[in-house]
């Protein structure tokens, strides 16, 4: 399907050759001495230096002796030792590090001694102890004994920079990695240096420290609308790059010693970026997660959700044994064989495979795997549906979706391999975002775009300029939700925007929300054709792209094949060794739920689906449908309605593959060995019980089949959609168009059990334009929004420069569960009243 490495660009690189500790090394021009030394295995101690941050030269730990040729070519020594982290290598340079120069060694020992005079000797209780660059380098490059007998400076500790990030200022060596990360990488200038000299300290804006009288922070350092100090979505990275124990996370503080932890590489399950993570666990329990270094995907950065949201899988509602509903109407623990037998019995009847007369009355089974599953699980679900249950009623898209979207995904995304990459995004001269908020919905995608700040033009089709878009200096193409198609169609040849997108390497990024805007995806395809820009579809959830590749959509077979194409069906049937595949068009997720609620289906197989995330009434469907099998990690709401609950493994306890939005395979191995099994293995058991061997019991079984199937051939593909934009309909006067998306930190199910993270989320507010607020008459700064359900959402109002006639609500933030409370999707009309 895809290769996992970017094509290397083979440009001739200008190099320089220098000598470090007597070893000659050739490096690209512009390389810093400290990097050149790494090339030949010479380790120079350092604190402020970080390869992904601009040089600072602040800590002075990396001092080395340097001699360089002058204009006449005579090699002359610099009179003072030089910071190797700021000086670029030159041809003919001679560098002597602490290994070969007494001066350099003495300089480094002197700096180390000075760094330690004000550093507390609390290593035994410090979280960093055991993995601390200061501790390690003090041992390897410091003096054996301290000569400091005076008074150390102290600070009140800890200072909470947010609910998650704590700062012990007396441990800080003021290397500025955290402030540089915040400014250069994340663009959240909410911490900075304050005061000076030995009292210099990192902090949020603090009037007491700054001795400012009556001044308040402004701009990006300001508090957000709710009066809560602004916290970054990427703040956890500062903890990881802190070279001492100054920055710690509330979740991990005092929990463990690094040498007691077992580390395992993995892939984050939180979004479609497939960020590389490291899971540190002890006695079967995850203590923390860190970013792994993956230069082609997330570099060394992850979101706070990737880092801190892992408690969900080990909460008290974690399932470890199958549950079967007894005759008393209650769920009881059961053995695997008993549970599988019961599930198979129910599904056999519903699918009409009992071989009895009752089969004729069977109405079939719908399968809702959810969007968080691995590629292997998705493949197993769809094969299970098509072969064991004989239906195309399978859809992972338990979110906003449409037939147009399915056609778009089949034509332009599924089975297309590695498309636009993170690196392409970074290098793109212009990026158009539509239905996509990079910071809230993209996670590390935002960081890549931000990396090109100043050189890249970002345009966003959105109702207003979000904080994330603002940090990218994006140009707003103000659009009322639902009118995205018209906005994209308006980018006519000859306009500035079209010219920008016509540049070589320009990218159009489409979010999953566009599915809710009729004609938008079709229009995006036209725009791409018109301008030559490349398309990237970036969904929110980790399993979305894998589900496309696996064919876990009603109209898609594995490899992007069209389920409606007879030849495609035949090709897959041949590969699977079955007579044929179901020919009836499958229902999409909403239709499956509606059918179940209308008792037009006899059973549902439900994976990781959260009813409150859906506008469709899944609870009603679960209640009314005859038989429900749930495959879940935790005992969720679905279990209340389930006849059989099969416990499955969370990503940390199983091997598998996420396919990220680039189309890159992000395989991971089991981090923690437990007896929990993957969805695909449970489905394999179930299918066997139904008399079918799906051969999806192991990851390698699935991957062999996927490899053998390959991508769709020419005639097997879905045709691109050509939908038209919907005509705008006038609503009642007090109705506004709903705009909404998920904030990165909100009340999503995978963030359960992590209060410190939740505390860094942005407070829920409703956004209205000034004119709209005046029109509806906002009272007491509050509005009540109601949709198609009896309930409503009340939120404080923030007047925002944005499209008139629109109200924006966060999709699932505290007090604002839009899908559950309003039952409508963005673009719909909602009733908004001032006051409560």
């Amino acid at each position: 399907m895809t290769s996992t490495a970017d094509t290397a660009t083979s440009e001739a690189v200008e190099t320089v050759t220098l000598t470090i500790d007597g070893t000659e090394v050739t490096v690209p021009k512009g390389t810093l001495i400290i990097r050149a030394a790494e090339q030949v295995g010479i380790d120079i101690p350092r604190f402020c230096d970080h390869p992904l941050l601009a040089p600072a030269g602040a800590c002075r730990q990396c001092l080395v002796d340097v001699a360089a040729p002058d204009r006449e070519g005579n090699v002359r020594a610099f009179p003072k030792p030089q910071a190797s982290c700021t000086m670029q290598a030159m041809d003919g340079m001679i560098v002597n590090t602490q290994h070969t120069s007494d001066d350099a060694k003495r300089a480094q020992e002197g700096v180390m001694e000075l760094l330690l005079i004000n550093h507390p000797l609390d290593c035994p209780v410090c979280d960093k102890g055991g993995e601390c660059p200061l501790q390690n380098q003090a041992l390897s490059h410091g003096r054996p004994e301290s000569r400091f007998i005076d008074v150390k400076r102290v600070f009140e500790k800890p200072l909470a920079l947010s609910s998650e990030i704590l700062l012990d200022r007396e441990r800080c060596v003021l290397c500025q990695r955290c402030t540089r990360f915040s400014k250069e990488i994340a663009g959240d200038a909410f911490i900075d240096l304050q005061n000076r000299g030995a009292m210099q300290q990192i902090g949020t804006f603090n009037e007491e420290v700054l001795n400012f009288d009556g001044y308040e922070p402004i701009g990006v350092a300001a508090e957000d609308e709710s009066g809560k100090a602004f916290s970054s979505y990427y703040s956890g990275n500062t903890v990881q790059i802190c070279p001492v124990g100054a920055l710690t996370s509330a979740a991990y503080r005092f929990r463990s010693r690094p040498f007691d932890l077992v580390s395992a590489p993995g892939i984050s399950e939180h979004d479609s970026s497939g960020a590389a993570i490291r899971t540190d666990h002890r006695r079967g329990k995850i203590l923390r997660r860190l970013s792994d270094n993956d230069p082609v995907v997330n570099e060394e950065w992850i979101t706070d959700k990737d880092r801190f949201a892992f408690a969900w899988q080990n909460l008290s509602d974690r399932l470890t044994r199958p549950l079967v509903r007894g005759e008393d109407g209650e769920l009881h623990e059961a053995s695997w064989p008993a549970a599988i037998a019961r599930a198979a019995e129910g599904l056999r009847a519903a699918a009409g495979r009992t071989g009895t007369a009752a089969d004729k009355k069977a109405k079939g089974v719908g399968v809702l795997p959810g969007g968080r599953i691995t590629l292997e699980d998705a493949y197993a679900y769809q094969k299970f549906a098509r072969v064991a249950l004989g239906t195309n009623d399978i859809d992972t898209r338990t979110r906003i979706s449409s037939d147009e979207e399915q056609a778009f995904l089949g034509a332009a995304v599924a089975g297309t391999g590695l498309g636009v990459t993170f690196s392409d995004l970074e290098k793109a001269p212009a990026v158009l975002l539509a239905g996509f908020e990079p910071e809230d919905e993209g996670g590390v995608v935002f960081l890549r775009l931000r990396k090109s700040w100043g050189t890249q033009q970002v345009l966003t089709v959105a109702p207003f300029l979000s904080r994330g878009a603002e940090k990218l200096s994006a140009t707003l193409i103000e659009t009322v939700p639902g009118a995205e198609a018209a906005a994209l169609a308006a980018i006519k040849a000859g306009t500035e925007t079209a010219d920008a997108l016509g540049q070589d390497g320009a990218v159009i990024v489409l979010g999953e929300r566009l599915a809710g805007s009729p004609g938008a995806l079709s229009e995006a395809l036209r725009l791409a054709k018109r301008t030559g820009a490349r398309l990237a579809w970036i969904p929110r959830r980790a399993g979305e792209r894998g589900a496309l590749e696996a064919g876990a959509l009603p109209g898609l077979l594995p490899g992007g094949r069209d389920a409606a194409s007879a030849s495609a069906r035949q090709a897959v049937a041949d590969a699977w060794g079955v007579d044929g595949l179901p020919e009836t068009d499958g229902r999409d997720a909403d239709a499956i739920i509606a059918a179940a609620a209308a008792r037009q289906l006899d059973a549902l197989v439900v994976g990781g689906v959260t009813p409150s995330d859906l506008t469709a009434d899944l609870r009603k469907a679960l209640d009314r449908v005859g038989f429900v099998v749930s495959l879940e990690v935790r005992r969720t709401e679905v279990a209340q309605y389930a006849d059989v609950v099969l416990p499955v493994a969370p990503p940390s306890e199983k091997p598998g593959t996420f396919v990220n939005w680039e189309g890159r395979l992000r395989g991971f191995a089991t981090a923690i060995r437990t007896d929990a099994i993957s969805d695909h293995r449970a489905l394999d058991f179930l299918a066997r019980e139904l008399g079918v061997d799906l051969k999806v019991g192991t990851v390698s079984d699935v991957n062999e089949q996927l490899a053998a199937l390959g991508a769709a051939g020419k005639g097997e593909r879905v045709k691109a959609p050509t939908a038209k934009a919907a005509k705008a309909s006038a609503g009642a006067s007090d109705e506004l168009v709903l705009a909404s998306w998920h904030l990165l930190v909100d009340e999503g199910a995978l963030q359960d059990g992590e209060p410190y993270l939740a505390g860094t989320g942005r407070t829920a507010v409703a956004r209205l334009s000034q004119a709209t607020a005046e029109r509806i008459g906002v009272k007491d700064g509050v509005v009540t929004v109601s949709g198609e359900r009896r309930s409503s959402i009340e939120l404080p109002v923030v007047i925002t420069p944005m499209a008139d006639g629109v109200v924006w609500l966060p999709a699932k933030s505290p007090g604002s569960w839009v899908a559950q409370e309003l039952g409508v999707e963005p673009g719909a009309r909602v009733s908004v009243k001032g006051g409560i």
Binding site: A58, N118, G197
Partner: protein
């Protein structure tokens, strides 16, 4: 015997010397009119030929600095005047701007014209509000008289001058920290390269010069290179302000040719206070190694002072007589450096913090002989290791004083306290001042 050569200070004693009218009566702004008729390159060449060296301390040839600017690309380039005079003992720029601000404004206009800059900045130390007002008024007067603004004296040349008051940080006298502060950022030194001549203020080519350097330009243009080079020594041309403070009878600014000796200056200043013996002195402010009576005849020019083991610096001559405890003086200076360290780099931030504690301990008589060695070792860990030169400067008075007066440090250790009578060294009523200071604290 060398004579005083008042140039910048020529009008200081005139009635309302800071007024435009007074300055013009003494020939002010004549040089600007002359300069506007010259090709800019000729002005730069004249300054190069004059041998004028930076008066801010480092002594880098001013004309050469201007010559480092890349060729004009039609985009802005800036002149920034460093008026952040904060070095202990240095008091030459503040009196100049207080008494004759127009000599600076005229210098700014000529220099800007020469380097092709249309917007110049004067970055003034924020604490001196009275000087800020004088400077603002002088700039306003100059605008009104057509010396600044659009089409200056019909030449077609435009210049705006902005006077900016800093927030009070010694580090902002370091040129790159000054530029960051001027841009509205935290005043901490920048990495070099790029140097300000290439990427300075707002990442554009920028010349940063000291007040006295810029204020010397009008006289060079007006009176000529030969006049300027007739003063001074072979490689240190021209005149300069020598600021005498401390134990002399008439402290103040003495404008004299470079190469004058302290003996001559003390004579002009009416001799040592009460006829006491000179004990030690700083040739160029507290960041330059101390001199003693041995150096009374050392010519005060860049080369001679350097050869004698110190630096000409800002010609801030702080004179201390035999009643002064050197440990005490050095401790006060070190407390200043500790207070003013910007905190960016480890050696300066932590080193000055430690040095101050050791010195305070020694001064109080709680020190040991090992502390004296520790002072030197800590200085060794700062000198040449810090990010900018201010860290180096903090060590000069300590290392030079230990070298010259080690026995005095040892006396503090042996006697368990200071062997000096502090009131004898004071220039004021010591007993009442001490209580007043306590009340103030």
């Amino acid at each position: 015997m060398t004579d005083l050569t008042p140039v910048l200070s020529a009008t200081w004693d005139a009635e309302q010397s800071w007024k435009l009218g007074t300055y013009e009566e003494h020939g002010g702004y004549g040089a600007l009119k002359k300069a506007l008729g010259m090709p800019p390159a000729d002005i730069i060449q004249a300054v190069k030929d004059s041998g004028l060296r930076g008066r801010g301390g480092a002594g880098f040839p001013t004309g050469m600095k201007w010559g480092f600017l890349p060729p004009d690309d039609g985009k802005p380039r800036y002149l920034v005047v460093n008026a952040d005079e904060s070095e202990p003992g240095t008091c030459k720029d503040i009196p100049t701007m207080l008494s004759a601000p127009h000599v600076l404004v005229e210098g700014v206009a000529i220099t800007s014209f020469a380097i092709g800059c249309n917007h110049a900045f004067i970055y003034l130390r924020g604490e001196v509000v009275h000087v800020y007002r004088r400077l603002m008024q002088a700039v306003r007067e100059a605008y009104e008289a057509g010396h600044l603004g659009k089409d200056i004296h019909g030449s077609g040349y435009d210049l705006d001058v902005t006077v900016h008051a800093g927030a009070g940080a010694y580090i902002c006298g370091e040129e790159t920290a000054l530029l960051d502060s001027l841009e509205g950022r935290r005043g901490q030194p920048r990495l070099k390269p790029p140097f300000p001549a290439v990427e300075g203020l707002y990442a554009r080519p920028t010349v940063v010069n000291n007040v006295e350097s810029i204020a010397s330009v009008p006289s060079i243009v007006d009176k000529g290179v030969d006049w300027f080079t007739s003063m001074g020594t072979e490689r240190s041309k021209g005149m300069g302000l020598f600021s005498l403070s401390g134990h002399v009878n008439k402290p103040g600014q003495y404008e004299a040719p470079l190469g004058i000796s302290l003996r001559e200056l003390i004579d002009m200043a009416g001799g040592m206070r009460g006829g006491k013996e000179l004990k030690f002195w700083t040739p160029g402010g507290s960041s330059t190694p101390l001199f003693t009576a041995e150096h009374l005849d050392t010519p005060l020019d860049y080369e001679s002072v350097g050869a004698a083991g110190s630096m000409l610096g800002t010609r801030a001559l702080q004179i201390f007589d035999e009643t002064t405890c050197v440990v005490r003086a050095v401790t006060r200076w070190t407390e200043f450096y500790k207070h003013e360290s910007c905190g960016k780099c480890t050696p300066c931030r932590e080193g000055t913090f430690w040095l101050a504690q050791i010195l305070e301990r020694l001064e109080d008589g709680h020190g040991t002989d090992a502390d004296i060695q520790q002072l030197l070792d800590t200085c060794d860990s700062i000198l040449g290791r810090s990010f900018c030169a201010l860290g180096d400067g903090a060590t000069s008075c300590i290392t030079s004083s230990v070298k010259l007066f080690r026995e005095e440090y040892e006396a503090h250790v042996q006697q368990g306290g200071c062997p000096f009578d502090h009131s004898a060294a004071a220039l004021f009523d010591y007993a009442s001042a001490e209580t007043a200071e306590e009340a103030h604290a």
